[in-house]
Amino acid sequence: MTYLFQILNGIGLGMLYFLLAVGLSVIFGLLQFVNFAHGAFYLLGAYFTYDLVERGVSFWVAMPVAAVLVTLIAAATEIVLLRRIYKLPHTFHILVTVGLALMIQELAIIAWGPLGGNVPAPEAFNGVIIIGNFVYPEYRLFVIVFTAILAGALWWVLEGTRVGAVVRAGSESAENTALLGYNTLRINSAVFGLGAGLAGLAGALAAPIRGVEPFMGLEALGIAFIVVVIGGMGSYTGALLAGILVGVTQSVMASLWPEGARLMIYLGMALVIVTMPRGLLGRA
């Protein structure tokens, strides 16, 4: 029974990890751009939610508003700064985005201070579900269901719509997509903004679980990269599979070998790098 709950808990974690990582994966898939500022957008989403809730705004309003704000900020950053370095080697991507992440982190400290804060779970999901001796927070169940629906919607957009087809075409060949008359610069900005916006949404959803603190972006970035590397860079379904695998591993290991819970995630990533360098579902 304990393991069953650990698996359920792991799926909940995994869905959050997926939401966090899928934006990073899609951005890399389309732009071949390594975005080390991804965790900072997660941080911004959490803090915008915190700020709005502190001002008395309902969580149900604060969550989407935070995600939209992050999307707009990320898109503006892409237009003003990042698109100028796409053609440079990856080391420049890392340099610029790490700098951007540090700037966002320090701005968060200036705006909200170095202490963390708490975001209460919305009233409708503030309780727990009790099954026998076990309990599970209703809010975490909400996160699982909400993220699953969102994952389905995203998959449909990417695989079943004209917009998705253009994005996928752009990731295969930006030149050919441009020759077909599409404005690839605009597509890039939109995809970068939406990818970062998903990280912002993950931050907003995670805030009632984890609270907010200025260094939360670093941990999120680490998890996002693990998920993307295991799932395969640029793979949507890979990110979903890897997110759940990482979440379930982390949770089940808490029962089997608690002190090795983190270690197993990193070992799993190392194993995938050695045996399947493109990740579980990565493209050639």
């Binding site: 709950f5 170095p114 202490l115 963390g116 076990f134 309990v135 984890r210 609270g211 200025p214």
Partner: protein, 402 residues
């Protein structure tokens, strides 16, 4: 509106403006400057603690300047919470600024390293870090500690709670796997064994862990009467926040053995803290003349109530300055001699620096979170349940100052 966050932002600027000419270890004249190094994490996961510590040190220096009529200043040394960085910053301060007196070190690992460096270079290092070894098996003549170590912290939280809650016969622990956590867990187990308490399980976790739901599920499966949280800082906040979301407050007593006090309660909010037991080194509501004077000064200077990080750093810096003035020197041996055996009116009442191991003998507090409706003001998060002093003798702690 002035609030704690604004104060921290202003404090960072004030700290950087307090850099004065260096002093060597020689005797100094009555008008000469004293400079104290403040090696604390100003960046990284423990930055909030470090920034408040910086404010406390600045206040102590300002007061000493007026009291002794000489320039007294502090220099922040950002340790980033890393032992190697901490030692390098202390070495730089010794070499380039001639600073020999240091007050800081929030994490045990960095404090142990800095204490050794202070000894090697004839300095003095005064810390608030918790691991028993600092004034135990790894003690040295140059390292002093204000905080109650892990032994006393558990003795003053777990033992009184077992008496207070006679029906709590089964306890579960969540422990960070490093020297500090092992210290807390070891003392807890000894008390459990002595009192006939069943220790139904323990979950170790790493220092970087942020997700505690898996460990909490283990705790739920063990069906304890009490959950004892043995980690520190943001990790204990994360554990407690997630424990409350799992409804554990309604199923068992929750105890955070080593809470940061006010800064942690502010971050968590009253709803999470209500009904939870906290062990703490300091509380601004303590009825002691030394504390009342500090609370008044901090309110006047920063318009906030002092928290543990600020208060701890304040008292360390104040004691070092007074010892340097008394010794007429910043020479490590002379300052250490002036500190050893000192009895003074401290933040928790009368405090003594025990000569045998350089450990300050002071109270540790067991507190209980209040309901929001019962709070007299925005910082009135807890009631003090009990207080007391519990310390191993220097011999029992394994300290030989040599």
């Amino acid at each position: 509106m002035i609030n704690r966050r604004r104060v921290l932002q202003a404090g960072a600027l004030a700290g950087s403006s307090l850099i004065l000419p260096a002093l060597g270890g020689r005797a100094f004249s009555a008008s000469e400057a004293i400079k104290i190094g403040i090696p604390v994490p100003i960046s990284g996961a423990f930055a909030a603690n470090g920034k408040f510590a910086s404010l406390g040190a600045i206040l102590a220096a300002e007061q000493a300047s007026k009291q002794f009529g000489r320039d007294v200043s502090t220099l922040d040394l950002d340790t980033e919470g890393k032992p190697a960085t901490a030692v390098r910053k202390v070495q730089d301060a010794l070499d380039s600024s001639g600073i020999k007196l240091f007050a800081g070190g929030i994490l045990s690992s960095e404090s142990l390293a800095m204490g050794k460096e202070a000894l090697r270079r004839n300095g003095v290092f005064f810390t608030t870090a918790g691991a028993d070894e600092i004034t135990g098996s790894d003690c040295n003549a140059a390292t002093f500690r204000w905080s109650v170590p892990t032994y006393g912290a558990i003795e003053q939280t777990v033992r009184p709670l077992i008496d207070l809650l006679p029906n709590a016969k089964k306890w579960y622990t969540i422990t960070p796997q490093y020297v500090f956590g092992e210290g807390l867990l070891g003392v807890s187990k000894a008390i459990f064994a002595e009192k006939g308490i069943e220790h139904v399980g323990n979950s170790y976790h790493s220092l970087t862990e942020k997700e505690f739901s898996g460990y909490l599920t283990n705790a739920i499966a063990a069906a304890p009467d009490a959950l004892l949280i043995l980690n520190f800082g943001s990790q204990s906040s994360d554990t407690l926040r997630q424990a409350v979301s799992f409804g554990l407050k309604n199923r068992m007593t929750i105890v955070v053995a080593w809470a940061s006090g006010l800064e942690q309660f502010e971050a968590l909010g009253a709803d999470i803290c209500e009904g939870v037991y906290f062990g703490a080194q300091y509380w601004h509501g303590v009825d002691a003349p030394g504390n009342q004077a500090l609370v008044k000064s901090v309110r006047e200077r920063f318009n906030i109530n002092p928290n543990y990080s600020l208060a701890g750093s304040y008292i360390l810096t104040k004691l070092l300055i007074e010892a340097a003035v008394q010794a007429g020197s910043t020479d490590g041996d002379k300052v250490a001699a002036a500190l050893r055996g000192k009895v003074y009116e401290g933040l928790t009442g009368e405090e003594t620096i025990r000569a045998g191991d350089n450990q300050v003998i002071k109270d540790y507090y067991l507190m209980k979170g209040k309901a929001k409706k019962d709070m007299a003001d925005k910082d009135d998060f807890v009631d003090i349940v009990s207080r007391g002093k519990s310390f191993l003798s220097p011999e029992a702690a394994g300290c030989k100052l040599g």
